[in-house]
Amino acid sequence: MDRRHFLRVTAAAGAGLLVSSTASCATSASSGPVAQTAGTVSIQSNLSAPAAKAAIEALVKAFNDRKGSQASVNTVASETFRTQLPSYLTSANPPDLFTWYPGSLLKGYEEKGLLLDVSDVWQTMGDYPQAYRTLSGKVFVPTTTYWWSFFYRKSNFAKWGVTPPKTWAEFVELCKSLQGKGVIPLGMGAGSDSPWTASAWFDYFNIRVNGAPFHRELLAGKHRFDDPKVKAIFTPWREVLPYTDPNGTAIGFQEATTAMLQGRTGILLTGAFFADAAPKDALDDIDFFRFPIIDPAVPLAEEGPTDGFFASSKSPHVKELKEFLTYAATAEGQEVYIRNSSGTILPTHPKARDSGTELVKKGRRHLEEAAEITQFFNRDSSDALQPTADAALVKFLQQPDQLDTILATWQKAAEQVWSA
């Protein structure tokens, strides 16, 4: 059975699963509480994008087919999940497992005793690099990751006669030459419902100029946002602002993706997940390059957000859920997940195979070459701090000459979050 055939079969199986689950819910809807079947691990998932939803359902199916413990997945909108997570966790009968990412939010729940210690599972994860262990602590099991970079279409670069830059000077040169050809060089989708995409720029300038350790300390509240070192990163940013899409704070991330794919903008700083928003025939034409080096003395850092699972400390199914986590952490489990996803996602298990496309292989090397991995603004700080960054950075994009006021306001807003 070749891979394509396998994909089709699993996709059909996944679809069948979906249909049968919707059909059965119609009859069971009014029949009292959704009782947790004895021993079944319930997974509350925020992976509501169609591709990701299919992937986690395939993973659960593969787990159930092993005839060990059984699991069931319940997908809710990611936005609903985010706002309801505290009430899920504090409810009397919470789901057993949750999809999420490591970070300060998780630490807060851990301190409140809401999360289950899954050190046992880590015993089986000897192959994992120390970085993941440090990141996850005792309560989190990472399963997938992806990378951020400047994405572009190979055919467009060929048409415009430009090549990917390595240094900052080359990058500015590329912007200039693209603008000369009537193309908006830099895409931006910081409007609509995705103002957080501007934080990627902030993160990258900070880790390129000041380095990842300073970046983490800043986000943890150990430095000030109006620090001269923070102010310094806006100097190179200002340099490329004239080349940035003037509609960048008006359109959302998905529209910015379309603009790049259509060749209205040249390149877009985004995460590999954007491939979900691309038409299938464009995927082979996509390539990327690293955010250019600004100061060669700063150790290379990249953004590589990690996703995975954590468990509720109230779960009555400790043995079963650990069995699931162990499976999800294996190369086999991650390969099942990736085969059924849109394919641009990377496994956290060092020996697990990725989807094998040129793009993904390059993406994996891209992260492996980095000396430091940062997660993303909200993951390295908190979801509460993210809106302060959104406000400040969108304002900066619109009124770059107001920088001093913006940074002062940002610091004030951040202090309120940190002291809360």
Binding site: T22, V34, P50, A77, T83, Q254, Q262, A277
Partner: protein
Amino acid sequence: MSNRVFHAVAGTISVLWLLPIAAVINTAFRSFDDIAANGLGSFPRSFTLAGFADAWTNGGAGAMWNSVLVTVPTVFLSLALSAAAAYALSRFEIPGRRTIVLLMLAGNLLPPQILLVPVSKLTELLGIYDTLIALIVVQVGFGLGFYTFVLQGFMRAMPNEVQEAATIDGAGPVQIFWRIVLPMTRPALAALAALAFTWIFNDLLWAITVLRSSSVMPVTPALLALQGQYVSNWNVIAAGSVIAAIPTVAVFLRFQRHFISGLAVGAVK
């Protein structure tokens, strides 16, 4: 001349009003690849019903049924209860009835957001968390105040003579309610039923507060669940919205006629 100006202005406003709906319908019939390649705002270059099929099979059918299971009993229960309450409050000298009515209305002035956590905990204590029963109870509870307020205002305006005549003919309070007051309240009931149906059918907040499983989610949170964390299939979401709008539009059209005729032939002269 002024007539022509009126038509020009009103026509423009209607077109502006209908534009978003036209955009949604346009998106619903496009393919995902078309939207991804040409953008959400472009003219359609594809025509497909795949979005509708996707929305229906990806939880849409179950969610529709859940919505019906919640909405129909809720509308019926809350109108029945508030009609009875309004009858008592408007036709009888209950001590402190003004205070009761104002209290019920005051409950409506509280922003529901501050009650989210208590309501969620309460349904858990009652053991009905994550069931449609919980949603029905909460919806009835929160609707009651406003419906009672409207209905008692309507009933108070009925002439006393009608009630007196019925009493002379030997009718008790229950019979008066059932055979005189309720039929006369029909226009108000119809209008409220149409409103309540739309509100409850379109509710999102309470649904995500008291429900957790995707299998019991009604149609609005299910539509939200079609949105991905980063990427959304707008054609499926638009198609889902169109499907979700059908019941409310149908009910409104149906009850609107009822409402108007009820006003015209009502017993209140």
